[in-house]
Symmetry: C2
Subunit: 214 residues, 2 copies
DNA sequence: GGATAATTTGACCGATTGGTAAACATTACA
DNA sequence: TGTAATGTTTACCAATCGGTCAAATTATCC
């Protein structure tokens, strides 16, 4: 008698690992563009090159696919923030945090859009993770920044909004890629735009625009 | 014999104006959360308090509704950038541009999310507007900023990325509102967060973080 | 008030949706 | 090699999708 769902088996077989990998990869393609509601199992099945019932053999529902995808991606996504080091030099820490986030926007734009889609829809599937693990991690880093400000190493500023501004400026290049390309024009839309962005953002965060009063 | 579609009539009646207004308002509610693909005419009809065929009497297709909505919102959305003045003082111009964009994120979050959704999906319905009117407007303001930099009024920086960074940081408070609230916690999620954000962002853009080298 | 145009709705259509059942094919392992 | 477990697919389901149609209702104007 066959066990109805792979999920119920004790050990994962080789085929399970391979196929789940393929499915999640395809799901990332689809969910990151159309969001949860706008995506269909058929689309994912086509990208994955499998039949729809075959997907549903590995993930019982569309929601289970989305859930698994978010869970897997969330950890990786927070890696740069986790690497943010209290003992490091403020300038190089902030510079490299910006760099790392920008690299992720460049190398993992689908992951960025997956989260952006989820946020736009009010985070119906991840609000707990936001209020729990994410907030905890941010709170921890906020204390680091506050200490730097208190020690006079950086200007006094709201650390939460500092983090928000790094998130938003870097992820912008993944989430709004079409807009960025359209505005920059075809000439400046090569991969070099990430280097330009990195230079600009590091300057912005370190020195600001150094506006001279007239 | 009744004219089949309101769109074909010469003059718009009072009822047409009222109902189209109600429909677009409802469509904004729905599209801004779920995106085009994820939204259904039934959802919009329910929010609007009308029957589905009644919506389709005013807008022939779901796409026509979305199109009308985007067109109406796009003009308003670019207002702050249009107000960006070449003859003004750089510092006050940038400060007030940030303020205005932040006010729009606060007062028109649905409009912000509507565009964000569209961008995430690759701007299938507005790419022409991005490459045309938007790029033209940005190019014009970019020249202003370049002139300021050349005159030594502000630091030399890439004006395109400067604009991107103002867009992303301000719209973040509309598009990622759930995340912002979750991270700030219930205590700091009141309307005061926009004032905090404004203070922080003005400081960031004017002075940067003023990092002291250790 | 009556004719006419404008508006609204219930019933319905074919296509697509998420998901199931069961037959069929393949793999792993004795 | 046989056989039981695992994996895959075809056919299908009820619900929902975007959209149509004709009939019913309401507003407009003489």
């Amino acid at each position: 008698m066959a066990i109805p769902r792979a999920a119920k088996t004790q050990r994962r077989t080789r085929i399970q690992e391979e196929k789940e990998e393929i499915i999640l990869e395809a799901a990332l393609d689809v969910f990151s563009v159309s969001g949860f509601r706008g995506s269909t199992i058929d689309q994912i099945a086509e990208v994955a090159g499998m039949s729809k019932p075959n997907l549903l053999y590995y993930f019982r529902t569309k929601e289970a696919m989305h859930r698994a995808l978010i869970d897997r991606v969330l950890f990786t996504w927070l890696e740069p923030l986790r690497a943010f080091d209290a003992n490091g030099d403020p300038e190089s820490e902030i510079r490299s945090y910006i760099r790392r986030k920008l690299e992720m926007a460049r190398d993992f734009p689908r992951e960025s859009r997956l989260f952006a889609n989820e946020m736009l829809q009010g985070a119906p599937h991840v609000e707990d993770e936001l209020r729990g693990p994410l907030k905890d991690l941010v709170d921890e880093k906020v204390e680091v920044i506050r200490a730097w400000a208190k020690a006079g190493k950086i200007a006094k500023c709201d650390p939460y909004h500092l983090i928000f501004s790094i998130w938003s400026t870097t992820q912008h290049y993944a989430d709004f890629d079409v807009q960025v390309r359209a505005v920059l024009g075809d000439e400046h839309s090569g991969e070099g735009r990430f280097e330009d962005a990195a230079r600009y953002l590091e300057q912005l965060f370190v020195d600001g625009l150094r506006i001279r009063h007239s």
